[in-house]
């Protein structure tokens, strides 16, 4: 297995002491029936680090990040998120879900609720925030994703790019420590990709810990602290973007990059 070390040395700490990683995955295995989706995944993500995961379809990258907030379970190994170990204990799972935001490929907004209600739902019911306060919070984040004027519309009335920005704002309303992105721009029309990536770049600039599955290599180059390449359920290569793009070591990585960067 490739050694996956964090590049950012912002908080230098001796490697032998128990460092508190934001995300710590230790030898995680997952099977769908007989199919071995994740094979011995070891990955540590530092506070404020931005990690971009890429790889061919079916390589397990979405499954990997969905394990982190327990949308998928795994059969072997350990995942520790901000000091809380994921177990079958629902309390732990809920505690982790409160700290981890996720943005899906297909937005998954609640179509029967207005934009503002989509945003207020979790703060009101999960954080028990007063409605007025939740509304202010929601408006703050809608302004941050630059669509406050859409607050009272329904998701079905927005464009794909706007919906995805609402989805990002919805996650941010829970004030997460980590944001997971599962191919956030793959379902978008080309002209809407930029508006979503801009929001993500801003988020990265604010120091959010981000783990992002994407094929947007331009975005990866500007934002990522570390690139991870997955194939057939394994982490094949992990490197800083400069090194990853200019000088990939593994030939599978080289092949993948040549396929997606050719055009």
């Amino acid at each position: 297995m490739t050694e996956v070390a964090p590049r950012r040395g912002a908080a230098p700490s001796p490697p032998d002491t128990a460092k508190r990683w934001m995300i710590e995955m230790v030898s995680v295995h997952k099977w769908f029936g007989d199919f071995h989706v994740l094979k011995d995944i070891n990955l540590n993500v530092d506070r404020g680090e931005r990690v971009v995961v890429c790889g061919p379809s079916g390589s397990g990258k979405s499954t990997l990040i969905r394990c982190i907030n327990r949308l998928e379970d795994y059969q072997r190994g350990r995942i520790i998120v901000d000091g809380i170990e994921l177990t079958n204990d629902l309390k732990n799972v809920d505690a982790i879900r409160r700290e981890v935001g996720i943005v899906f490929q297909h937005f998954n907004l609640f179509p029967h609720l207005t934009v503002i209600d989509n945003l207020m739902l979790a703060p009101v019911w999960v954080r028990k925030m007063p409605r007025a306060e939740a509304r202010d919070l929601a408006m703050t984040y809608l302004e941050r994703v630059r669509i406050p004027e859409q607050a009272d519309k329904y998701p079905g009335q927005l464009s794909g790019g706007q919906q995805q920005r609402v989805a990002i704002a919805r996650s941010l309303c829970m004030n997460p420590k980590i944001m997971l992105f599962d191919e956030p721009t793959s379902a978008l029309d080309p002209e809407m990709i930029k508006e979503v990536l801009d929001v993500m770049v801003n988020l990265a600039a604010d120091g959010m810990t981000m783990l992002c599955v994407t094929h947007e290599m331009g975005f990866a180059r500007t934002v990522a602290d570390r690139m991870i390449f997955m194939d057939e359920g394994e982490i094949i290569e992990a490197a800083a973007p400069e090194k990853f793009f200019s000088n990939p070591r593994n030939e599978r990585t080289q092949l993948f990059l040549s396929q997606i960067l050719e055009h």
């Binding site: 907030n69 949308l71 809920d94 879900r97 409160r98 981890v100 935001g101 996720i102 899906f104 297909h106 937005f107 998954n108 907004l109 609640f110 179509p111 029967h112 739902l121 979790a122 019911w125 999960v126 519309k153 329904y154 998701p155 079905g156 009335q157 919906q163 919805r170 996650s171 829970m174």
Partner: protein, 365 residues
């Protein structure tokens, strides 16, 4: 191509496609086959409508006259209804007290009407229903405030039909939601119970359930415990409707994309929050037409309680036409209650369309 040289000239559609002539052409005389059908339909209407109008209005006997007058007339004998409408509408409820069920029915209808508008779905409506039902019960039973006590075996007609239907809806609906959720539950015992309940109840005709509730249940109860006959029939109707409705709602639940569950869970919502705020509102909206369908069926099925001797609208009508003097005028009686049943059912079906439009929130993805 349209000539666009002069933009001030508006191009009109050809005359023959607009207006009355256009409508007639496209809808009634669009080709030989269509023309034949139109002519046929006109002939049919001409042979049905005038005799019906004659029977219902022109040749009919109105007002408080005896059955002998009807015998001489060719048309409908509305005098029969004049004579018997109180028996049909209120059954064997004491004659002088029948203002009470009348007031009760009006009260129920007003509450139902108020519940229709989405703007009224507030806390006060729930309070109103609790208060309204208490008042309804007081009116029907009496025994307080100087009202004479009337036992449930004397209740009948429209109030009885409405009681069975309204309580059928109000209790069966939440029960069916629990059953539908139970059938999709990950807990084996809950799931097995729900499946067994739904399949058992659905596999049995309502009539046999009513019989069981009326005649077999008392055998199993300890002596001295005497469950009210109306209550037993009501429970049978509720259990029966809930089983059907549960499957309808399960259909709605299955149409909700997995992404909705994932998004709700990822935000940290628990099972009941997720179900109540995210899944059910969408699932139920999707299945409004079959839900209303089930309710309409249930409303008409309440007439089956006649076989356990509850005097609902239908049995009250049959009692009215069993009067030897008026025996010949059963058609008038059945037309009368058919109109009543139709009004309620038609209203339900229109309301379901309104509700669908009202809850539409743009395109689903």
């Amino acid at each position: 191509m349209v000539d666009r040289a002069d933009p001030t000239v508006t191009v009109r559609p050809p005359r023959a496609t607009v207006g009355v002539v256009g409508w007639l052409r496209t809808n009634l005389f669009d080709g030989p086959w269509n023309t034949i059908l139109t002519v046929f339909a006109l002939v049919l209407l001409a042979s049905i409508v005038p005799p019906t109008v004659d029977w219902v209005f022109l040749d009919a006997v109105w007002g408080a006259v005896g059955a002998d007058v009807c015998k001489a007339a060719a048309g409908a004998c509305w005098a029969f209804l004049h004579e018997k409408y109180r028996l049909i509408l209120f059954g064997r409820y004491p004659f002088d007290e029948q203002w009470r069920p009348l007031l009760g029915v009006v009260l129920l209808i007003v509450m139902l009407a108020l519940s229709c508008s989405r703007a009224n779905w507030k806390l006060w409506l729930g309070v109103l229903w609790v208060g309204g039902l208490a008042l309804f019960g007081t009116l029907m039973w009496g025994g307080v405030f100087g009202l004479a006590y009337v036992e449930t075996s004397l209740w009948g007609g429209l109030p009885l039909t409405l009681i069975l239907s309204v309580f059928g809806v109000v209790v069966a609906f939440p029960l069916s939601i629990l059953l539908a959720l139970g059938r999709r539950s990950e807990m084996p015992v809950v799931r097995a119970f729900s499946v067994a309940y739904i399949e058992l109840i659905r596999g049995v005709p309502l009539i046999s359930l009513l019989f069981m509730a009326s005649f077999m249940l008392p055998l199993f109860l300890p002596s001295g415990v005497n469950l009210n006959a109306l209550l037993r029939a009501q429970v049978a109707i509720i259990l029966f409707t809930a089983a059907y409705l549960a499957e309808v709602i399960r259909g709605g639940l299955q149409a909700i994309p997995a992404g909705q569950y994932e998004a709700a869970r990822a935000l940290g919502l628990g099972y009941w929050r997720m179900t109540g705020n995210i899944i059910l509102p969408q699932a139920i909206r999707l299945v409004i037409p079959p839900i209303v369908n089930t309710f309409i069926g249930m409303f008409k099925d309440t007439s089956l309680v006649a076989i356990v001797s509850l005097t609902d609208l239908l049995l009250a009508t049959r009692q009215a036409i069993s009067d030897p003097e008026w025996r010949a005028y059963f058609v008038e009686g059945y037309v009368f209650i058919a109109v009543i049943y139709f009004c309620f059912c038609f209203f339900m079906s229109r309301y379901s369309l309104y509700l669908e439009r009202e809850l539409e929130t743009g395109h689903r993805r």
